[in-house]
Assembly symmetry: C2
Homo-oligomer: 147 residues x 2
DNA sequence: CTGAAGGCTTAGATTTTGTCTAAGCTGACG
DNA sequence: CGTCAGCTTAGACAAAATCTAAGCCTTCAG
């Protein structure tokens, strides 16, 4: 068993999630594979790597992993939900014109300002989402960025 | 014409958007109505208030308003995209267990930390999205507290 | 070790969400 | 007015997500 897999097994135990081959496969795909995968991509990806999982199971697994905090659904702007493993936090930049999503390096939002508005709410994680016109759209703009 | 409507008219002019009855209706629904509506709710809501707009038009309007920065698609965690009017900025708190979305008061994220990762990107707006277990879910939990 | 019990998985149907198209309508502007 | 470009529309279409009923597997008490 790989080091990665034992790390995942530990995460499952900590989250009180019943460990199944399918859930491992989904999480492993997200941790080691591409970011921002759609559920459909995950289904195809998982079934290409020897494991097998039906569509319904992938959806169920994503929900379970999401509730456990191991996976997060990220802002898309597109028609399909996209998922990220949450082991490495990062912020997002979204172009309002073409819909592109860019990852940005992590930095902490100072606690004092946030604490006032959170009012004691439980926080497991957070991210900052920036909106604007990306470089490409700004360059190819003609008054109003032709997408 | 209501004060609200003239405010919207001004917003349209500033954004260089052709003002149509349907776009007014969509924006007005989002500004004055419930927050975080799905496209489907907007279609139903608009058509219940005397105005009329087809599904395609609502989607087109949302895209146009989004490009103009008057409306924003917010992270949901659900199966359908949700939209928010952006006239008054605020942050979001999302419950990973039940999917509830709560608005939170605005505060600024200090610029220095952000500037480093933005690397000169154009920013029109931003928001912080917090994830956790909401009060209701924490109280009604069955022994697994702070997931 | 053994055998329930309840959660997990599955295929496929179904529902929901979002996009596209072709034709007609309308706001902007001279 | 008259024209043009952009907007709206109904409905077909495509994609995404959920539901269902039956069987399988992890767990845990005995």
């Amino acid at each position: 068993m790989s080091k990665l897999t034992s790390e995942l097994r530990e995460a499952f135990r900590a989250a009180d999630l019943r460990p199944t081959a399918q859930r491992y496969a989904v999480l492993e795909f997200l941790v080691s594979g591409r970011r921002h995968s759609t559920a459909g991509e995950i289904v195809r990806g998982v079934n290409r790597t020897g494991s097998a999982a039906s569509r319904a199971t992938v959806y169920n697994s994503l929900r379970a992993l999401s509730r456990a905090g191991l996976v997060r659904e990220v802002f898309t702007g597109g028609s399909a939900a996209r998922f990220d493993a949450t082991l490495h936090p990062h912020h997002h930049y979204i172009c309002d014109l073409c819909g592109a999503i860019e990852d940005m390096a992590w930095f902490e939002v100072p606690a004092p300002a946030a604490a006032r508005v959170l009012q004691g709410r439980h926080v497991r994680a957070y991210e900052v989402v920036y909106h604007g016109a990306c470089r490409r759209c700004r360059n190819s703009k003609s008054g109003r960025g032709d997408i």
